[in-house]
């Protein structure tokens, strides 16, 4: 397993990552390429904000009526000949998948990329009953060889550079492979070709499930998902229960938003819509098809006004690529299957232990880059604050911080006390100020001054200077331009009518 797995606190895991130059360079390199690609794609689209809002509306509507659309999807998929299963928990989903594998006496399963199967640790479960599971997405294949978990929703091996990958694949090949992308991909392609042909089961995730026809849609670039869904006799698809969209018309919006947000592509190389198993007139496709719809904590979010929008996520990874914290610490530091801003909120939300879960919600400066990047406008930066608040409300705040914040409330809640505290600070700091700055590394200044010199309190605060300043500026004799005055009066009038509140 990776050195950066779920052990320890987020701080300890981040520490490991911050000291790993390879990781930091690799993550920075790729996230930068992706986010710039995304920004360009959005700009070229020309009408991005409007489509983003359309995407959000589709997701809001679907999730608000999830029971209806899920039922419709299940009905239609069954009519197409799909075996549909519903798994309330992760354990149940695993049990169903294993039962299908056993009923086929499967020896090998080829998989296309699926974060849900990562969430369920399905590969391990298959291995435990003697079934070999082979990842066929290049990044996932690399991660599997390394015995690690994905550190990014769409680029699982983002934390590895070309040379590290060449080393891994060379070991597998039994010969030294050059660190050249074409050579490395060529080796994997040849290797996987055999696996596709001998596999008993093809296993996939699902990008979107279309309620009106009971179809499932996959986006990919390597063609491996097409192999997985056409060659083996049996297909098992695992999907989160929120993957639904109502119609193919809605897919047009999603197909516009997803690839652009994920990689900056206008479209992925392959987009496959699959409606049931192979029919007699079809040239290929599985004879038997199963769809396992997974809840595993998702329905906890339904009806929760602060977190329901989490279910709108289309797993594009744009928030990871935009996040400055992710850029520095990578995905494993987040400690869950999903990383980055979405992972920081989704992991505790899925586990329904918002209050107890780590302090991953604190690993954010709340800069809002995730929200700005998100194609369906999920307010992740607000949700991070809600997580922190729920933790405090549940009494899981850190003791020292709680004392500090109570003190803050008392001091800043009363202007008189605040003024006195400032005076005290102005006197006290004389002991530690050198050369107009504070370099002391104690208490809360310890972390700050490891990277900075702290400023000093002003000799006289603004409050202390105000009376003099007021006297001085009172006599400038400058009067207000009548046009400006009229504008300000008009704003006041607008406001009184209940308008005019919008500015900025």
């Amino acid at each position: 397993m990776s050195a950066y797995k779920t052990k320890g606190s987020v701080k300890e895991r981040a520490e490991l990552a911050l000291n790993d130059d390879f990781l930091r360079k690799a993550v920075k390199f790729t996230t930068e390429r992706l986010r710039i690609g995304k920004m360009n794609a959005a700009e070229q689209h020309g009408n991005w904000e409007e489509w983003r809002e359309r995407g959000r509306q589709i997701r809001l509507h679907t999730i608000a009526h999830l029971d209806y659309y899920l039922n419709l999807f299940v009905e239609n998929a069954r009519a197409n000949g799909v075996h549909v299963h519903f798994a309330p928990t992760g354990a149940e989903a695993v049990r169903i998948a294993l039962a299908v594998a056993q009923s086929k006496a499967a020896k090998t399963v080829v998989k296309s990329k699926s974060m849900v199967t990562e969430e369920l640790h399905l590969n391990h479960a298959l291995q435990d009953i003697g079934v070999e599971a082979i990842e066929t997405d290049l990044g996932e294949y690399i991660i599997q060889l390394a015995g690690e978990t994905p550190s990014h929703i769409i680029i699982p091996a983002i934390h590895k550079n070309r040379y590290q990958i060449a080393e891994l694949l060379s070991k597998e090949a039994g010969e030294a492979l050059e660190a050249d992308t074409t050579i490395l991909a060529g080796f994997v392609r040849k290797k996987l070709r055999e696996k596709f042909l001998e596999a008993d089961i093809g296993m996939t995730g699902c990008n979107f499930a279309i309620a009106e026809t009971g179809s499932m849609v996959l986006f990919e670039n390597e063609g491996n998902a097409r192999m997985v869904t056409t060659v083996p006799k049996t297909q098992i698809t695992l999907m989160g229960m929120e993957r639904i969209i109502p119609s193919w018309t809605d897919l047009e919006v999603m197909a516009t938003l997803l690839p652009r947000s994920a990689t900056g592509q206008k479209l992925t190389v392959y987009m496959s819509g699959i409606t049931g198993p192979r029919r007699t007139e079809d040239a290929d496709g599985p004879e038997e098809m199963h769809i396992i719809i997974v809840d595993n904590g998702r329905s906890n979010q339904l009806g929760d006004p602060e977190f329901q929008e989490l279910l709108n996520c289309i797993r594009c990874g744009a928030c990871l690529n935009a996040c400055p914290v992710y850029r520095h610490i990578g995905g494993h530091a987040y400690g869950g299957t999903y990383s980055g801003p979405i992972g920081a909120v989704l992991t505790p939300a899925l586990q329904k232990n918002v209050a107890e879960w780590d302090d991953i919600a604190n690993a954010s400066s709340l800069c809002g880059a995730c929200y700005e990047a998100c194609p369906v406008k999920i307010p992740l930066h607000d949700m991070l604050v809600y997580l922190r608040r729920r933790k405090v409300e549940a009494g899981h705040g850190k003791a020292l911080e709680t004392i500090g914040m109570r003190g803050f409330g008392t001091v800043a809640g009363q202007p008189g006390i605040m003024g006195a505290a400032v005076k005290l600070g102005q006197l006290g700091q004389r002991l530690v100020v050198r050369d107009g700055g504070i370099r002391l590394k104690v208490g809360p200044l310890k972390g700050w001054n490891k990277y900075r010199v702290a400023p000093t309190l002003a000799k006289r605060s603004f409050r202390q200077q105000w009376e003099a300043l007021k006297r001085e500026t009172a006599n400038t004799g400058q009067t207000m331009d009548p046009v400006v005055k009229a504008r300000m009066e008009a704003i006041l009038k607008e406001r009184a009518k209940g308008g005019g509140g919008r500015h900025g």
């Binding site: 911050l18 914290v325 809002g368 800043a412 202007p415 702290a454």
Partner: protein, 242 residues
């Protein structure tokens, strides 16, 4: 017409020169700022850390202090945006909810007030230096102050503007984040300062003293002589020089 200054804690106790620049600049347009002394902190540190009861306590001082004001002007996009959270904080207290909605309407970040209300873009300032600009996250992304500072800078005579690479990236401040996750925050501010140094600017200008304090602290730590200023200070120095 009562126009009040919402000084914000940092400008009050560490950077009073920013408040002074605002008062003197606005006086040139006949705006006599008032300073309600009952104001303290907007409550953001407590709000962001999840201590909403404490946030409400300090938010009340702000709501009461500015109850009578017609316009409120502040030197921080972040503290201005904090007021947009007040309706959520006071959703169960009708009196303060009403005050919250009104305060949100009347509060402007400094450059918003200059450009949108006073319609001033050219202050007649002169500042013959190489300058770069860091747009703080809350002000630019959440409050939407994007064009105003650039327009103001464009009109400063002699100023050579150099765009900051990856300008929109957070500087790593994030309030208590800088203390709680010191090493991540440290990595972020280091990267930000690397980008600033790349521009070879003599002056870094911004609209939020919290972010600027963070960046200035790292510059000083690395003995880099880049001068860090709030835009109000730059403009005030510029009009004195002109």
């Amino acid at each position: 017409m009562k126009v009040s200054l919402f000084i914000t804690c940092l400008s009050d106790v560490i950077y009073p020169r920013v408040g002074e620049a605002m008062v003197r600049l606005l006086a040139r347009y006949g705006v006599k700022l008032e300073f309600p002394r009952a104001q303290t902190c907007c409550g953001q540190p407590a709000y962001n850390s999840g201590y909403w009861d404490e946030a409400r306590k300090t938010a009340r001082t702000i709501l009461d202090a500015f109850d009578e004001s017609d316009f409120v002007v502040s030197p921080s996009g972040s503290c201005t945006y904090m007021i947009h959270h007040y309706p959520e904080l006071f959703k169960d207290e009708p009196v303060y909810l009403e005050k919250s909605n009104r305060l949100q309407e009347k509060t402007y970040e400094f450059t918003q007030f200059l450009v949108q209300v006073l319609d001033v873009k050219d202050l007649g300032a002169k500042f013959p230096r190489k300058v770069t600009y860091h747009p703080s996250c809350h002000g630019s992304r959440l409050l939407g102050v994007k064009d105003e500072p650039l327009e103001l800078l464009q009109h400063v005579e002699g100023l050579e503007f150099v765009p900051l690479p990856f300008a929109q990236d957070c500087c790593g401040f994030g309030g208590t984040f800088a203390v709680k996750m010191a090493d991540i925050s440290g990595a972020m501010v280091t990267e930000k300062v690397d980008h600033i140094l790349e521009t070879e600017a003599e002056v870094l200008v911004g609209l939020d003293m919290a972010c600027l304090m963070n960046i200035a602290g790292n510059l000083r730590f690395r003995n880099e002589p880049v001068r860090v200023m709030h835009l109000a200070e730059l403009l005030y120095e510029g009009v004195k020089e002109a």
